[in-house]
Structure formats: structure tokens, C-alpha cells
Amino acid sequence: MSLSVEPASAEPERTSSIGGSTRFVPGQSNDRVTVVNGKVQLGQRLKDLWVNRDLLVLLTRTELKVKYKNSVLGYLWSMLNPALVLAIYFFVFKIINGRNGQPNFAIWLFAGLLAWNLFNGAAMGATGVVVGKAGIVKKVAFPRELLALSVVGVAMVMFAIQVVVLILALLLFGISPDWTFVAILPLALLALIVFTGAISVFLSAINVYLRDTQHLTEVLLMAWFWGTPIVYSYGLISTHLANKPGLEWLKYLYLWGNPVTPIVLTFQRAIYGVTQYTSSSTHQVNQLLPNWGVGTYAAVNGIVLGVSVGLFLLALIVFGRLEGNFAEEL
């Protein structure tokens, strides 16, 4: 007896009249035969993600709701937290840098952190998410990569809240962002989200088999953070390396080896708006960001986006390979 050769018409109609229920008709309702344990092709995987987008939104909302459920201030914390962080940066660096330092350093820092936090928060959260949701993974069949993506969703909401704080801060300090570059921020953000999604999906699957991933991720992300020009400036590195012949390649590696760097640079360029500043005491010109035009920035982000899409598809393939044994590994 084979499923595939049975014509649908061989099935006599069994529309039930009892109980007035006529909704379901075998052989008509849904006659598609699926191989349950078959290999899910990449296209199907993407389609499943799209079909289940409602679930993604719900999982994200659940995460958010649970996060602030029992705190008195609730959602206000997600606003208060970055605001307080910004205030601390402001005062600390006012004292450390004094008059000679980079002006409005808190804004500079916050611009970079904005992008970094999305990536960092999602990667950290996603690493443990499949293991953490073992109860669902072992009992319900659904596209499990949604769990990792829901963490990215949470990070995106946090991002949006931080943007609000940032806008308030910009108004408060009377700083105007560079609007020409703000126009390419959506592109940078998209590249960031796709890249973050790729890393998150990948890490969430790996961690099921290698629980060390969780601890390793923490350390690696710390190193990654300092390898990205957030606290210090890209200009600092590039001027350093420019004076050392034979080390030109390091500069390229620094810029291109880390997809987060071009994105962070774009955020800083758009929000901070200044590529260099002159120290008030030494009168030395300090380069902060590359002096690229908006087209170059856009192109660089476009490349990062392209690479990220590739990585995302790759991550889905890896996830699909590993997903089969999730239920028994947990």
C-alpha cells in the first residue's frame, strides 16, 4: 500500500451530517502527503518561517512579557536602563576626558553601543534558547529556528527603546545627526539584523550539542566587543596602522574581518555626525571615522548585507542538519 499512488477520488466522500458538522471532508480538505522525516530543503525552511511569522511575533512578545512580568516598573525598565547607562557614561567620561577629550563622548559611545547591543543581546540570548525551551522542543513540532529568531526579535525591541532614549539625549544636548547618513541607517540596521540572525541561529543549534558554547560565547563576545571600534575610534587604529609599513593588510582585516565594524561605523557616522575633532589643548587633529562619502558607506553596508544573507542561509542549513536530534539531545 503506497501513499503516493492513491488517487484522491478513491476515497468516498464522508461528509458528516451528524452534529451538523460539514467542515471536514477527507480527501478534499488537505490531501497533500508529506514525508515527515524527509529532508527539509532550504526553500521550504524559509517558507515555513514565513508561514509561522505569527508564532515568531508571539514568541517574541512572550519573551518580553516574561522578562518584565514581576517588576514594579515593568516596561519602563527597558527605557530607564539605557537612559541611566547613558547618564553614567556622560558623567564618567566628562571626568576622565576632561576638557581635552572627544566632545560628547557619551553620544559617540551610545551610537556604537546601540548597534552592538542588538548583536550582543541576541547572540547571548539565542545561545541558550533551544536548551532553555527544552519543554517545547521535546513536545511540539514547529520550526525551531523561530526560538533563536524570537531572541533577535526581543533585541530589536530593546534597540527601538534605546533609539528613543538616544533621540531624547540628542535633543537634550542639542546635537544634530548627519541626516544624509541617517538615510542609510535602515540599510545598516537590516545588515545588522540579518547578521545577528545568522549568528543566533547558528549558536542556538551548536549549544545543544556542546553546552560549552554558552560560556565560550560570553568570552568571545567580550573579545569581539573590544575588536570593534565602539569605545575607541576606528581612526585611532587606522592612523596607527597607516604609519607602519607592511601592516596595511591588518587594517583591511580589521575593517572587513568583522561585519559588525562597518555597521558600527555607519551608526557612529550618522548619529555622532563628525569624522574628526581637534583637541583643544594640543590642537592635534584626531581622526575618528573614515572620510568616506555616503555612497561608500552604503556600498560597504550593502556588501555586509550580502555576506550576512549568505551566512543566514548557511546557518539555516547547519540548523537543519542538527535539528533532527534536538529532542533526544536535550
Binding site: R14, F24, N37, V57, V137, D212
Partner: protein, 421 residues
């Protein structure tokens, strides 16, 4: 009849690690290879489940029935073989799986429904129905962690049945809630059956299986033992579960310092020799060897029958003169005869005792000395088989013509009469 679920050559191997090495250090030490014992949870399972069929899976714990269900649901990936499913599928492996205790019942309905494959709009449309079904109107905005376990499970079931799949997989969850809720659940299952949906039930409850299923598959150690009618399937399952091949008596140490002892106790029934189990209504004979060093002129034999939950089914009347006997020196054999055992499915243990007529001394008592098994080939359920006759007549006074009942509940089955007493 189209096939709803086609299971072809499914085997599933689990790796039992003596100690699970999930940390990097341990992986490196073992060179990426970990010692494990292969365990085949499923072995060469082949079964076709037809559309519109209610299919039961029986087997003792760890026989692989839940593993099979998880493979069909797509949660586990079988090591070999192929599973094909026609139409949409929903699995109720655990009610309320994926509930977030911190969230309200309302939020959890949406979350759980989405996990089971409903769209947001679908859930919104059925929301009131789900809440009403779960009888949680007053608590729907409370956090689920404050729910009683009954409420929790009711909500889980209400969401799951509202998915309205073509194929529904159910894992031992039908027995939830109070009696009224259970009836509602059964009504839902019956409606699914009427509508021609396919249902696969895994259960230990032979009653549930007997009442609802068209066919039963019995599994043991990952293999399919049989796929048959519920009656025969349940018999095979019970025989397998209890490991009872024959109705053997048990041995005793004989007389040791005691003047009186009950020796071998044996149970025989109308079908003895042909099969190990009784059919309901057959006769049962229990014999017990008595050894005595002294003459006991007025001994009373007693017999008690307990079911598998150790609840008393029957104990003989202590004053019944039938039980009176005279045991000479050297002892003899006491024989208890039940012309008819109206019990339904189960394994029953027999305890035998001998005491003095005045109830002042118990000479010997053998608790659970032997057992017998009853397998019901019919579809009636419960503890005992009550004689039943059904007739039907029209209400109008002038009409007296009696219409014979469609059939007695205990209409003999083929191959059964010759053994019935």
C-alpha cells in the same frame, strides 16, 4: 481507503551514554567520540493507518509507542525508514506543553495555538469557544502559574482539539479533568471520528482503547507484536504485560513445624489447555493441596479474589456451609468451583485459606497463591459482565409488535461459543 499515516521500516536508535560528555573538555579528551550503548527504541516498524480510522497503540512502558508517536509528529527523527502523512497533523503529546506560567491564560491560548500551527486570526475566531470549553471564563486573565493542575490541563486540551487537524495524535492524555470534562473530551473525539478524521491514541487504558479504536497495534521492545481488532489486541497486550503464559500455581515450603499447610494452588478454567485466559462467563476451578499432620474435623475453606489493583473482588462467605470440610491426617485436596466467572478484562489473584469453624484459629492462609486472567473478546468494558437484554417498542398504545434488539451486547463472537460454558 486512503492511507493517512504510512510508516515504512522505521527504526530509531537512541544512544545511551554512560556519562554524557557535552563539554568541550570531555569531547577533546575522548577525541570527539563518546562511548555509548546503542538502544533500539523502534525496530522495523511497518504500519499503515487508514484515513478516518481510530488507531490505538498499546504496550508496556518503554516499548517505543511514544517514540513512534514523536517520530510521526516530526519531533524525533527516525534512524531509518520513512513516514508519510496525508493532510495536516497535530500532536497532543503533553497537554499544555509550552505554556508560559508567567503569562495569562489568554496569552497562553495564543502562544499554544500558534505552536500547534493555528494562525492568529484562527485563534482569535475560536478564542471564546476555547475558553468556554476549558471552563475558564473567570480565570482567563490570571497567570497560568496560579491555575490548578486540572485547569492547566483543561486549557491545554481545549487549545489542542480546536486545531482541527486531519490527523490527531494523542498520547495518554484523554483521562484529564473531572468526569464531566472527560465526557466533553470524548464527545470531541467522537465528533472527530464522525467527521472522518484520523486519530492515533497511545494509552495504557484498555477501556479507552476498546471503546474508541477500530484497530490496535501492540508493541514490545520497539517491535510490532500485532495489529488487530481491539479485543484480540488487548488480550495480546495483557498477556505480554503480565508475562503470564500459563496459569501456574506457586510452590510452598510444605509443613515445617506447622501441623497444617496449604501446598500447591492451581487454577483451571473452561478453556484450559487451549489458551491461558478465560473468556467472561467461563467456569473456574481452583484446587489447593492441603498437608496436615493432624486431623482437623471442622475446617472451613475460604477463598478470595483480588484484582490487579489489589482490590477485593470477591471473598467467600465465612459461614457458608459449602466451605465446611473434614481434613484427615495427611491432608487432601480442596477444590473450589465457580460455575461462571462474570468478570471482564484483568488479571485476578486468588488467595486461599483454611481456618477453624469457630474463627478462633487460622490454620494457614496463602495470599495470592495463584492467578488467572480474563480477556474479553467483546467490546463491553468495566469490571463485571452483567447479563443484559435490550428490546425496543413503539410508544403508541395500539401497537404491540416488539422489535427485536439490534443485538445482544454479548452476542457470541466467532470462535468463542465453543469455549463458552
Amino acid at each position: 481507503m486512503a492511507v493517512a499515516i504510512g510508516v515504512t521500516d522505521i527504526s530509531k536508535q537512541f544512544r545511551l551514554y554512560n556519562e554524557k560528555h557535552t563539554s568541550l573538555k570531555e569531547r577533546v579528551i575522548h577525541g570527539g567520540k563518546m562511548p555509548f550503548t546503542p538502544f533500539w527504541a523502534l525496530r522495523d516498524v511497518n504500519v499503515d493507518i487508514n484515513q478516518g480510522e481510530t488507531f490505538g497503540i498499546l504496550g508496556r512502558n518503554g516499548c517505543g509507542k511514544s517514540t513512534l508517536l514523536k517520530c510521526v509528529a516530526g519531533i524525533l527523527k527516525p534512524t531509518t525508514g520513512e513516514i508519510r502523512v496525508r493532510g495536516t497533523l497535530a500532536a497532543m503529546l503533553e497537554l499544555g506543553a509550552g505554556f508560559q506560567p508567567e503569562l495569562s491564560g489568554r496569552d497562553n491560548i495564543f502562544l499554544n495555538g500558534s505552536l500547534l500551527g493555528l494562525s492568529r486570526a484562527d485563534i482569535a475566531k475560536r478564542f471564546d469557544e476555547i475558553v468556554a470549553f476549558a471552563e475558564l471564563e473567570d480565570f482567563i486573565d490570571n497567570q497560568v502559574k496560579f491555575y490548578s493542575s486540572g485547569m492547566y490541563v483543561r486549557l491545554g486540551f481545549a487549545v489542542a482539539v480546536n486545531v482541527e487537524p486531519d490527523v490527531l495524535l494523542v498520547d495518554e492524555v484523554l483521562a484529564v479533568g473531572d468526569a464531566a470534562f472527560q465526557r466533553k473530551c470524548m464527545d470531541h473525539v467522537k465528533r472527530f471520528q464522525r467527521e472522518g478524521r484520523t486519530i492515533v491514541v497511545v494509552s495504557h487504558g484498555t477501556d479507552t482503547i476498546r471503546q474508541n479504536c477500530d484497530r490496535v497495534m501492540v508493541m514490545n521492545h520497539g517491535r510490532v507484536i500485532t495489529v488487530d481488532d481491539p479485543g484480540e489486541g488487548i488480550r495480546v497486550y495483557l498477556a505480554d504485560l503480565l508475562g503470564v503464559g500459563t496459569l501456574e500455581g506457586s510452590e510452598t515450603g510444605g509443613i515445617e513445624g506447622n501441623v497444617f499447610a496449604i501446598g500447591t494452588v492451581q487454577a483451571e478454567h473452561g478453556g484450559s489447555g487451549a489458551r491461558s485466559h478465560l473468556y467472561p462467563g467461563e467456569s473456574l476451578t481452583v484446587t489447593a493441596d492441603l498437608d496436615s499432620l493432624a486431623a482437623v474435623p471442622n475446617a472451613m475453606a475460604t477463598i478470595a479474589i483480588h484484582d490487579d489493583k489489589n482490590e477485593l473482588v470477591f471473598a467467600s462467605d465465612p459461614d457458608d456451609p459449602v466451605c465446611q470440610m473434614e481434613v484427615p491426617v495427611g491432608g487432601g485436596v480442596v477444590r473450589f468451583f465457580f460455575p461462571e466467572v462474570p468478570l471482564l478484562d484483568g488479571t485476578y489473584s486468588v488467595s486461599v485459606g483454611v481456618r477453624s469453624e469457630t474463627e478462633t484459629a487460622i490454620f494457614d492462609w496463602k495470599d495470592q497463591a495463584t492467578q488467572f486472567e480474563v480477556a474479553n473478546p467483546g467490546r463491553s468494558t468495566g469490571r463485571i459482565r452483567l447479563p443484559l437484554d435490550v428490546s425496543f417498542r413503539l410508544r403508541s398504545t395500539g401497537h404491540t409488535g416488539e422489535v427485536p434488539a439490534v443485538g445482544s451486547v454479548f452476542a457470541p463472537l466467532a470462535g468463542w461459543e465453543e469455549n463458552a460454558s
